[in-house]
Amino acid sequence: MAIGMNMDEIRVLAPTGVTGSGFLESSFEQGLAQKPHFIGADAGSTDPGPEYLGSGATAFPRAAIRRDLRLMLTGARKIKVPLLIGTAGTGGNAQQVSDMVDLVKEIAATEGLSFKLAVIQAEQDRDYLKRRLQEGRITPLFPAPEFDEKTIDRSAHIVGMMGVEPWQRALAAGADVIIAGRSSDTAIFAAMPVMMGFPEGIAWHMAKILECGAASAVQRKTPDCMFAWVRRDHFVVEAPDPSLRCTPQSIASHSLYENADPFKLLECSGTLDLTNSRYEAISDRAVRVKGSEFIKADRYTVKLEGAELVGYQSILIGSVRDPYIIRQIDDWTTRLTEKIHARVNMVFGDQLAPSDYLLNIRIYGKNGTMGPLEPVTDIKSHELCLIFEATAPTQDIANTIGGIIRHQALHLPIPEWSGLITAIACPYNQMERGAVYRFNVNHVLEPDSPTEMFPMTLFDVSGNYNREILT
């Protein structure tokens, strides 16, 4: 398929909102029949939480990712158009990218596929980050945690969120399949239209709609495909599944989802501004969008995401039915906390200071869901569920504290009863939760060039043979 600067239309197929969440094969086949110029999907997000970037695990099971990837790879090779997959492995760190590349090579071998593969990494080197920090080129967004050299040293992984330029470099190199680390979801879809000179406002807005697959339909039944026609002064969006409808309202509403500001969306190279966007139904299933603008930024910035180990966790779930305990639950948990700290000190002595571990008690039936945001102060429930968490430097210490919590909570007395009470009901004993992580960066970095943080490697893949192309 010829792609050139004089094109008047780019067609785009998004098989699904996240690789691994699935899509209907019938929708995908219909999408392919509409002759897209490329197929794009992300494979990650911060939404499942910091442990994926931190640990390298994936939020969707490998088998589910493999299923989606196999269909996308065979489909893209069948019609010979590029396949762009960003934020590999949920967090988009180096290990997660390499795991997905292994999967791609495995599928190529099984299916006998041949293609040029570009791999773009997004994991950031500690020394590079420290240098940019010293130069004052890492600045906070709002709200942001503290970020200094110690944060960099503590981090399990820090990734940069790439813009369109690293994708465009891979496309220009003739890549058929691109597997990238952390990327702006929209950049995956905007890269080719922007490269081909389509207006950036139109390209980025289309990208924003397509990056979530069928989520912008009136009623998405299951994760599924979305299709767009990008033209010089508008784009049209329609779901390949004939039972899915897009309306001006559903497409306009989509810019609200998971964005703090529904009109201004920040990217590396500028801001997508939807203030003047207009939405028009062109059938009962398709919508035309015009008027979206892209305002170039004065300085190019790359958002950083990082995760660090908090510790290892042991948890205990218990419940309380005694109205005497329920009516004094805050006082009871305060007394319990003191008892636990005292007992931990008896067991560990100077080996473990109170600041070395974290004790957290969640009270469901009171404010377990909303915590400090909960406006309701009186407890109306006849029972409460409590989750106790011990987070410590090792799993062994966490388990020990978990055992202490259970024993102390079981028998903590209240003034209304005399004699030994059993204060909580536990369906099971304390459980290991393993390593827990936290996000530790909400900053942007100003690089010298849009690609310096995102090195690319090219491979020739042919069935079970593959070889790095030295450039």
Binding site: P143, A252, A260, D261, T369, P375, F439
Partner: protein, 102 residues
């Protein structure tokens, strides 16, 4: 007086990245949307009051094309932090449901 939950087709909350929470109050049609918008029942100040935040901590938007009103606030704990109770931020909207609209 009618409660906001009876007028909206969907009231939802969600993470807007790991550091902010966002609320979408969405209506079926322009008429209901305009009724709520013009009533003044839902404002930056009301959202701030609901979540006991200073007014300038709340971002607030009218989205005419989507027939929706939107507000965003900083998270009390960052997503996934040891004391965070709602990893996806999906169950933080309940206090908005009972806002009275004229």
């Amino acid at each position: 007086m009618t409660q906001l939950a009876e007028l909206a087709r969907l009231i939802r909350s969600k993470n807007a990245g790991p550091f902010e929470l966002t609320f979408d109050i969405m209506f079926d049609d322009d008429e209901t949307y305009q009724r709520v918008k013009n009533s003044g029942a839902l404002s930056r100040e009301v959202v701030a009051q609901c979540y006991r935040l200073p007014v300038d901590a709340v971002k607030f938007f009218y989205c005419d094309h989507a027939y929706a009103i939107k507000a965003s606030i900083p998270r009390p704990y960052f997503q996934g932090d040891p004391r965070d109770s709602d990893g996806h931020g999906g169950q933080q909207y309940a206090p908005l449901m009972s806002i009275e609209v004229l």
